[in-house]
């Protein structure tokens, strides 16, 4: 059902690998001091020794906190069947207490084949949760509650966290609360009564080291030799890949990449793009693919939209810049128009348009988010009178003017004069 072309199958295989976080992070978690082993040790301890526990997984976005946790949970469910039930909440969805309680009840019902009532009040749900915790504790079954985006649960009264952690203080219950957050100060956000009930175990997830990255690249991109691919294709593919990975230019690309964002996810997206750009005719990855990928992943949207601007829009931008240079504290469309007129008067440009045409160009700039209003009162005034500001720096404007091929010389001169 997939193409007969080995190149196409190779792409499909690589894409499947890249989009599967479990695969990626299982590559990184074989060493004994990895987060995977630590986390597994902690959780399996509390499962086997029937105790309560709470852990925070902290680290920047895209470093595999959830992926590693999922790996651990999957393995534990295999090792201790019927002893674990997992409840997953996400701060983006369930930061509201009633909503969270409802979701916990729903997932518990689903897990234990109970009938879930949509009409149950939040009080009912809270009682149900506590009863379930007790029942499961009596049955020596551990409930693992995963709170993704943990910092969002700490907004508001923290009633959910309190009732959860408070229920875990009793001997009968048996639960593990795992908070996942990209805020390193997540535990400082807790109220005192909650913090005192929280065991301060923290696991820090860091971006991979250079050696890990190198290993990851090889593991992801090399094709397996024992598979259905033709043998000579695989050897050729892998040989070329080793060449690329050793190339000085490629290492430079990797450095620029990790300078912007060292996380695994960013790296994956970069590789994904490179794989997508692979030429199906030749069927091999080339250095060119990686170069294209880095240029398309590291974009400069402001410069791009400056290049898209029409001449009139550039005029308005330059006029606004001149207003800023004049140290006008605030200015609006009308004062920009005055400046525009004065430029026209002194240089006799051919681009002098009527007021309403300029107004429309001005609105285009607003749409492009190159400028914005400084006040947020929406309906207080008509557009002309609302104060505005530039959202680009002088350097960006300068660069944009240079790159825009239709930019009139006079505008560049005006900008040069200032700097």
């Amino acid at each position: 059902m997939e193409g007969d072309n080995p190149a196409q199958r190779a792409i499909a295989l690589l894409r499947r690998r890249l989009c599967n976080p479990n695969y990626i992070f299982s590559l990184l978690s074989d060493s004994p001091d990895s987060n995977y082993s630590k986390l597994k040790f902690i959780i399996s301890n509390s499962v086997t020794e029937t105790c309560n526990n709470s852990i925070l997984l902290l680290g920047p976005r895209g470093c595999g906190k959830i992926a590693v946790l999922e790996l651990v949970l999957k393995d534990l469910q295999v090792e201790h069947p019927d002893m674990i039930s997992v409840v997953r909440l996400n701060g983006l969805l369930h930061s509201d207490d009633t909503c969270a309680l409802k979701e916990i009840a729903r997932q518990l019902c689903l897990e234990h084949q109970l009938l879930f009532s949509k009409m149950a009040s939040s009080d009912d749900n809270a009682q149900f949760m506590i009863a379930m915790l007790r029942e499961c504790g009596l049955a020596h079954k551990t409930i693992i509650i995963v709170l993704d985006e943990f910092d969002l649960f700490t907004q508001g009264k923290q009633r959910l966290l309190y009732s959860l952690l408070d229920a875990m203080q009793s001997v009968t219950s048996q639960a593990v609360v795992i908070g996942v957050s990209c805020r390193l100060d997540a535990d400082q956000l807790l109220e005192k009564r909650v913090r005192s009930r929280f065991s301060h175990r923290k696991l820090l997830f860091l971006p991979p080291s250079n050696r890990d990255v190198q290993r990851l690249l090889e593991d992801i991109l090399l094709l397996p030799t024992d598979s259905k691919f033709p043998n000579d294709y695989v050897t050729e593919f892998n040989a070329r890949l080793h060449n690329i990975l050793g190339d000085q230019q490629f290492i430079e690309i990797l450095t620029t990449l990790s300078n912007t964002d060292p996380s695994v996810n960013y790296l994956l997206r970069f590789i994904f793009q490179a794989v997508c750009y692979m030429d199906l005719e030749t069927g091999f990855l080339s250095l060119e693919n990686f170069k294209n990928a880095i240029s398309s992943i590291q974009r400069q949207p402001k410069i791009e939209s400056l290049q898209d601007c029409s001449v009139l829009e550039l005029y308005i931008l330059v006029c606004m810049r001149r207003q800023e240079v004049k140290e006008q504290t605030s200015y609006n469309f009308n004062s920009v128009m005055k400046e525009y007129k004065s430029i026209h008067d002194s240089f006799q440009t051919s681009d002098y348009y009527a007021h309403n045409v300029c107004l429309r160009a001005f609105e285009h700039l607003l749409q492009r988010e190159l400028i914005c209003f400084t006040d947020n009162r929406v309906h207080s005034q008509s557009v002309e009178f609302r104060p505005v500001k530039l959202l680009i720096s002088a350097q960006e404007l300068h660069q944009g003017l240079k790159l825009n091929c239709s930019c009139p010389v006079i505008l560049q001169k005006l900008m040069d004069r200032e700097s």
């Binding site: 792409i11 989009c19 996400n90 969805l93 994904f272 029409s310 009308n334 107004l359 008509s382």
Partner: protein, 540 residues
């Protein structure tokens, strides 16, 4: 004349597929005779013959690179993908390219535009309805399949619906039944497309929905789901405190002049004639805007002008003729440059509607600009006076009212005041800037009525100059009847957005008004009344 070529056609498919897919409607009519369970494949794909790659590329001049990149990123059959983020200025063909790409690929997708789905609930429900093959009609009271307001419910329902759909998609491959296998496969992937993402920021101030959508891929953890976001603004507009893993950006730049030329040349009856027309017109217009939607509104009229001297439109123009036509058109170019943004009344309705949406908050302002050209609309004399007095009340400082409108008439006072304000140039400039910044001032109702009374007396005095030198007396008896009408007129003017109702004054507690009329328009109105407005205008 079909100036717009593809953009017109593709736009229409964009719109129709957004409103629960017209392909599915076609299927619905087909299935009336022999009812069968709706099939996922026919409902979520375009359902017609897939488009060839060449046709796809040729229908989007200037978008070749973007189409190819999209195809590469979406990838071959059954290959998972990271979320995509497609961005670029307005009318650069983002939505239509994406939809046509799916027509070419013939894979199931769900499209929701945040323009038609203007609140989280509607957005969620529209997605779910399409996934669950639910169509709102009179039979079910136009209700949605699932009622879902919270993001939490949405994710649960979405996961259920998606697993259903994905399982259904897998089936025909296993079963190897009937026609499904003969056709090129649809794959097991289902794609969710969110259009006009930038609008979410307007209705969702806390930015929870945006974060949810960007994190949807990680939340769902389903590799069979491809997410595509389409937005007018660049990804850096979506940065937030908590951050999110960024989707892969795909940029659609604005069309270049050559691209525009190709676009406008499509479906032309007489390409030679039109290309000579474009040679003349495109360059000056491109200096102002390169947006297809705006240009295509302006060109038809100009082309009509251009063709006026020709008797036979089928002729290929010679050099000599071109020159003649050019000299005929030239005087019209400059004025039309300044008129480009006027909405043509005979133009298609949807263009007009689109323009209106574009202008959104600014509609008030532009509405007035439009009205300026057709000022001869029927407005009663007193409404005109009211307009002028509102204008004066907004522009002139309240302290000068007495001086301007006292029985002696304004002229002497004005001169005196002017002299006093000319003490230093700098001060004048400052106040001028201040005026530019502040815009029209606000005024209470009482002041407006007082000025109105003075004006009507003077105005009528000047109309019948011979008899009434002392207008004050006349005003008193003439306006008693008017007063109740005036309030009505005022509310009419408010509704027409000539006068804005501002906030209430914190001290007095009464409503304050503000005139939004531009000076040109006020002068025009005054001229129609033969009222000496400039005499009453205080200039700093």
């Amino acid at each position: 004349m079909g100036k717009e070529g593809t953009p017109q056609i593709t736009k229409r498919t964009t719109r129709s597929s957004s409103s629960t897919a017209d392909s599915s409607n076609a299927i619905a009519t087909k299935t009336v005779n022999a009812p069968r369970p709706p099939s996922i494949i026919s409902d979520l794909t375009f359902g017609e013959e897939p488009m060839s790659l060449d046709a796809l590329l040729s229908s989007f001049p200037g978008r070749r690179l973007q189409v190819l990149e999209l195809l590469q990123l979406i990838g071959p059959l059954n290959s998972p993908m990271f979320p995509l983020f497609i961005y670029g200025g307005a009318s650069t063909g983002k939505s239509s390219v994406v939809l046509q790409v799916f027509k070419h690929l013939n894979r199931p997708f769900v499209y929701s535009s945040c323009r038609t789905c203007y609140s989280p609930r509607i957005l969620f429900e529209s997605m779910l309805n399409q996934l669950l093959l639910h169509r709102r009609n009179a039979g079910n009271g136009y209700s949605s399949m699932k009622r879902c307001e919270r993001p939490a419910d949405f994710v649960n329902f979405l996961r259920e619906a998606l697993t259903d759909v994905v399982n259904n998609l897998k089936e025909p491959i296993k079963k190897a039944s009937s026609k499904e296998l003969l056709k090129p496969g649809h794959g097991r992937m289902i794609y969710l497309i969110f259009d006009h993402l930038e609008l979410i920021q307007e209705w969702d101030k806390s930015s929870g929905i945006i974060l949810l959508l960007f994190n949807l891929f990680d939340i769902l953890k389903m590799s069979e789901v491809g997410l595509i976001f389409i937005s007018n603004v660049s990804p850096d507009a979506y940065y937030s405190n908590t951050g999110h893993v960024e989707p892969i950006p795909v940029y659609f730049p604005d069309y270049t002049e050559d691209n525009l030329c190709q676009i406008f040349m499509r479906n032309q009856a007489n390409p030679k004639l039109f290309s000579s027309f474009l040679d003349v017109v495109l360059r000056p217009f491109c200096r102002m805007t390169r947006r297809v939607d705006e240009l295509s509104a302006a060109f038809p009229l100009l082309f009509k002008k251009y063709c006026e001297p020709l008797s036979d439109l089928g002729l290929a123009p010679t050099e000599d003729m071109k020159r003649k036509l050019f000299s005929h058109l030239q005087p019209h170019i400059a004025p039309s440059l300044n008129e480009i943004f006027r909405v043509q009344y005979e133009s298609r309705v949807d263009v007009k509607a689109k323009e209106k949406v574009r202008r959104k908050g600014n509609i008030r302002k532009l509405g007035i600009e439009d009205a300026l050209d057709e000022i001869d609309f029927h407005m009663s004399i007193s409404a005109k006076y009211l307009l002028i007095s509102a204008f004066l009340a907004s522009r002139n400082p309240a302290t000068l009212d007495a001086a301007l409108f006292d029985s002696m008439g304004g002229s002497d006072n004005r001169k005196r005041k002017r002299k006093a304000s000319q003490t230093s140039m700098e001060k004048k400039e400052n106040t001028e800037n201040e005026l530019l910044m502040r815009g029209p001032g606000t005024f209470p109702l009482e002041r407006l009525l007082a000025i109105f009374q003075c004006l009507t007396s003077v105005g009528e005095g000047s109309l019948e100059e011979g008899q009434r030198e002392d207008g004050g007396v006349m005003a008193e008896d003439g306006d008693v009847g008017l007063m109740s009408d005036v309030l009505l007129q005022l509310s009419t003017l408010c509704n027409a957005n000539f006068i804005m109702k501002g906030g209430t004054c914190p001290l007095e507690g009464s409503t304050r008004y503000r005139s939004t009329v531009s000076e040109e328009m006020a002068l025009k109105v005054a001229r129609s009344l033969r009222f000496p407005l400039s005499k009453y205008l205080y200039r700093r």
